[in-house]
């Protein structure tokens, strides 16, 4: 009989880092599978390349940092970063976008800060923004949907050509994303009602995701389902996603009410672009969001406002990446000021006054 000294507690909830990551990956699967379905095999190639790059970069970084490699690779965090990054990339982007993005996310986004749990910025968003700034052409080349098993869809060989040699006959198949289209048309002084009808905009197709866009950002409904799954499994709480979406809805409604020809309606905003992916999967990143519920609400309002401002008045059609990164930078500050009140103390941390016993 051997009884080593153990400290309490002698029981555990069974929660584990790998469990958290696994549930997030499960929640992303429907949108991922749908993305691969509508954008075809090149999207699958890019997804695999990005994830494998992340895993390789993680392994190299762990090796350099002298940390155990196997257990960290198996915790699922690198896999999840790779998946999130891939889902935010244009479906037919070339292979080196995935490789560069994966390496940038893991090395600059995560391991330079000290590895898991130490990074200030969401690694996937950092890589996405870095790619967007560095390679604007590749990062904004959207293709029309070409679902698998349809005559238009590229075959296996063709998909490898697209991924590794580039898209042949680019002009024939490229398309504008909805947000980009609306933005361009507005800059040409065309009213929204004209420009949106000109590309056959319907709320059903955007919410289902049958539109041009990133691999996994287009199907708002499937992402929403995944988000609800995470809420039910208590991996995330409602505070960030709900507050963020509500902020955008409020701002968009306000401006749409003021001038409906210039400002898109709230449903257009929340069902297009990366809002659902951002609200449920990116902004809720445990490492880079505030610790307290109140802090998370402030954080989410910040993202909502920034997304709306960038989309409406900024130079880019989509602002989720920038908004998340900017608010990630604010997280330490929010956590510094927003803390739970300690029992028996006031908000400033001083002991409460002893109440008189006659009250």
């Amino acid at each position: 009989m051997k009884l080593a000294p153990h400290s309490a507690p002698h029981t555990h909830s069974g929660n584990a880092v790998s469990r958290v990551m696994l549930h997030v990956i499960i929640a992303l699967l429907p949108a991922t599978i749908f993305g691969i379905y509508i954008f075809g095999l090149p999207a699958l190639n890019l997804l695999l390349i990005t994830i494998i790059s992340c895993l390789i970069a993680e392994a190299i970084s762990l090796r350099i940092a002298n940390k155990p490699i196997t257990c960290h690779l198996l915790d699922g965090s690198a896999l999840l970063t790779g998946l999130l990054l891939a889902l935010s990339l244009p479906p037919w982007a070339p292979w080196w976008i995935g490789v560069l993005g994966g390496f940038f996310a893991m090395i600059v986004g995560k391991h330079i800060f000290g590895g898991l749990g130490q990074n200030v910025f969401n690694p996937a968003m950092l890589a996405r923004v870095a790619l967007l700034i560095s390679f604007p052409l590749e990062m904004t080349t959207w293709v029309d949907i070409k679902p698998l098993f349809t005559p238009d869809a590229p075959g296996f060989i063709e998909s490898l050509q697209i991924t590794f040699l580039g898209i042949p006959n680019l002009d024939a198949i490229s398309s504008a994303s909805l947000m980009g289209h609306a933005k361009t048309e507005l800059s040409l002084d065309r009213s929204l009602s004209d420009s949106l009808t000109s590309i056959d905009y319907s709320l059903t197709s955007t919410s289902l995701g049958i539109v041009a866009g990133s691999i996994g950002e287009t199907s708002s409904i499937l992402l929403l389902l995944g988000g609800i799954y995470l809420l039910v499994k208590r991996i995330i709480s409602w505070h960030i996603p709900l507050t963020m979406i509500a902020t955008i809805v409020v701002l968009a409604s306000l401006f749409h009410f003021i001038d409906s020809e210039r400002y898109t309606d709230p449903l257009f905003h929340i069902f297009s672009g990366g809002i659902m992916l951002g609200a449920f999967f990116i902004a809720t990143d445990l490492v880079t969001s505030p610790n307290t519920k109140l802090g998370q609400i402030i954080f989410a309002i910040g993202i909502g406002v920034l997304v709306y401002v960038i989309r409406t008045w900024g130079g880019y059609p989509e602002g989720i990446g920038f908004a998340v990164l900017l608010m990630n930078a604010m997280t330490p500050l929010i956590d510094h000021y927003i803390k739970p009140r300690i029992y028996g103390r006031n908000r400033r941390g001083n002991p409460m006054a002893t109440p008189s016993q006659n009250d």
């Binding site: 400290s7 507690p9 555990h12 929660n15 965090s77 490492v287 505030p290 028996g344 103390r345």
Partner: protein, 493 residues
């Protein structure tokens, strides 16, 4: 009754079904009892017997010494065969002074069994009896109960809260006590109300004990001052300050005591012990212990004499494994015992034996800042922030941001997905801070002494100088006198 909101807490799996329906049994009299002289917070009792002496059940083995202390009594009749340093029920395995009693099987007792009416006694007399019976908080804290009752004499108290929460998984001893001996518990509460000279007692019982709630409600009908309150099942419901907030909506200010709010909290088992001590002048020589866990064949609720070795309990209940973790108390805050050759003491409410499946030793991973520890903390602390500072050795700043308010309930460690032993770090840091404070006190004392020495030496020097100056002046005066005299004599000649 309206309950107030409270933050944090966790819902560990209860495992109460293993033992909640098993009636309290009497453990057969062991042949030897190892009765430690310290089973409570405060100063150890002063040994009152000698080797070879025969004692009766209930006879004092050690007298209380100091203001916060409690006496210990013989749990059965027999002969004192040794007084030695024996392993205490603590993870350190350190020894405390222990009286070894060889039982004679007769179980002859000293105390009278004629029931007394406690309501004719003055509060001071009741508190004295409680103190003399060696009663301490039986919920696990083991704080001398008489000290708390005396607070009623010195402070204005308006509410007595009886803690029947029993929020630790596995433990069912308080549940069984309330089911089987509800009237006695209520009587103990009435005695306390009488002692504190107040008219309001709230008995808080978690919602997972419906039978105990019913029995206690039934028994409390004779006494309108006692209200039985159903509280939600959530760990750590048994934290006294948490109970105060839930029941009264008030918080005990940091650095103050419950009594400053006019509230005193006692455990149900303590109420029962007070009933026994005051009604029947029966000292605290046994208690109900839950023996449970997945490595136990037959879980039990047993009434055990103080000083019984844990190994006797394990033999009685049976072990189904040879590789297990032995815990005194519940799995959330209980202490892992070094081995089973340690005695049951007053604060021991359970022996939980867990297999390696249930209490696996897992290596911890990096913190992913999921902030579940913050949500779980009933106090409102930032465990992840505190642990980062402690890891760097910055105990002072950890203390400043909340370590000083940590109650060690282990809710944070329980939920941590990275398996970081948060509460272990906190206990470690608390020890470090205590050491630092000790050093500081010592330094201050040394400084004071050095300063006193300096002053003393300066005073000596000064008085020496003054004496020298005085002597000089005297000499000068004598010289002048002499000269004068010579001048005189010169003049006269």
């Amino acid at each position: 009754m309206k309950l107030f909101r409270f933050r944090g807490g966790v819902h560990p799996k209860g495992y109460k079904e293993l033992s909640e329906d098993l009636a309290i049994e009497q453990l057969p009299l062991p042949s030897k009892l190892y009765i430690p002289l310290q089973q409570h917070i405060g100063d150890p009792a002063d040994v009152a017997v000698s080797i070879g002496q025969s004692v009766l059940k209930g006879q004092v083995l050690g007298h209380s010494q100091g203001t916060i202390s409690a006496p210990v009594h013989a749990s059965s009749s027999g002969t004192i065969i040794d007084i030695l340093n024996f392993t205490a029920p603590h993870p350190s395995g350190l020894a405390v002074k222990t009286v070894v009693l060889q039982t004679d099987g007769k179980d002859q007792q000293t105390h009278n069994t004629i029931p007394l009416s406690p309501f004719n006694l003055s509060p001071e007399e009741v508190a004295t009896r409680v103190g003399a019976a060696g009663i301490v908080g039986l919920g696990g804290a083991a704080f001398p109960s008489a000290v708390k009752l005396y607070q009623g004499v010195t402070r204005a108290i308006d509410t007595l809260i009886i803690n029947g929460g029993e929020c630790e998984p596995f433990l069912t001893c308080d549940d069984r006590l309330m089911r089987e001996r509800a009237e006695e518990v209520i009587d103990g509460i009435r005695i306390m109300l009488h002692t504190l000279k107040i008219k309001k007692a709230l008995v808080a019982i978690e919602s997972n004990k419906p039978t105990a709630l019913q029995e206690m409600k039934q028994a409390s009908k004779i006494c309108p001052e006692v209200t039985v309150v159903k509280v939600p099942t959530r760990y750590p419901m048994g934290w006294d300050k948490q109970l105060i907030r839930i029941l009264t909506g008030r918080e005990v200010p940091a650095g103050k005591r419950s009594a400053d709010l006019g509230v005193i909290v006692h455990n149900v088992a303590t109420a029962y012990a007070i009933h026994e001590a005051v009604r029947y002048v029966k000292p605290l020589i046994s208690r109900i212990v839950t023996v449970s866990g997945d490595a136990i064949i037959k879980p039990k609720n047993v009434e055990v004499r103080m000083g019984t070795l844990v190994s006797e309990l394990l033999d009685y209940s049976g072990l189904n494994s040879s590789d297990y973790r032995l815990v005194m108390g519940g799995p959330m805050m209980g202490q892992a015992l070094p081995h089973a050759q340690v005695p049951v003491v007053k604060g021991c409410n359970g022996i939980v034996v867990l297999s390696n499946n249930m209490a696996p030793v897992q290596s911890s991973q990096a913190c992913i800042r999921c902030s579940q520890c913050i949500s779980a903390c009933p106090v409102g602390l930032l465990p992840l922030e505190m642990v980062t500072r402690i890891k760097k050795g910055d105990y002072k700043s950890a203390n400043d941001i909340g370590l000083k308010d940590c109650i060690g309930c282990a809710s944070c460690s329980y939920v941590c997905p990275a398996n970081i032993p948060l509460v272990h770090y906190f206990n470690f840091a608390k020890g470090k801070i205590r050491d630092q404070q000790q050093v500081q006190i010592k330094n201050q004392k040394t400084k004071k002494l050095a300063e006193a020495k300096r002053v003393r030496i300066a005073a000596i020097e000064k008085s020496k100088k003054e004496a020298a100056a005085a002597r000089k002046a005297q000499r000068a005066a004598e010289k002048a006198k002499k000269q004068q005299l010579t001048q005189h004599s010169d003049a006269s000649t």
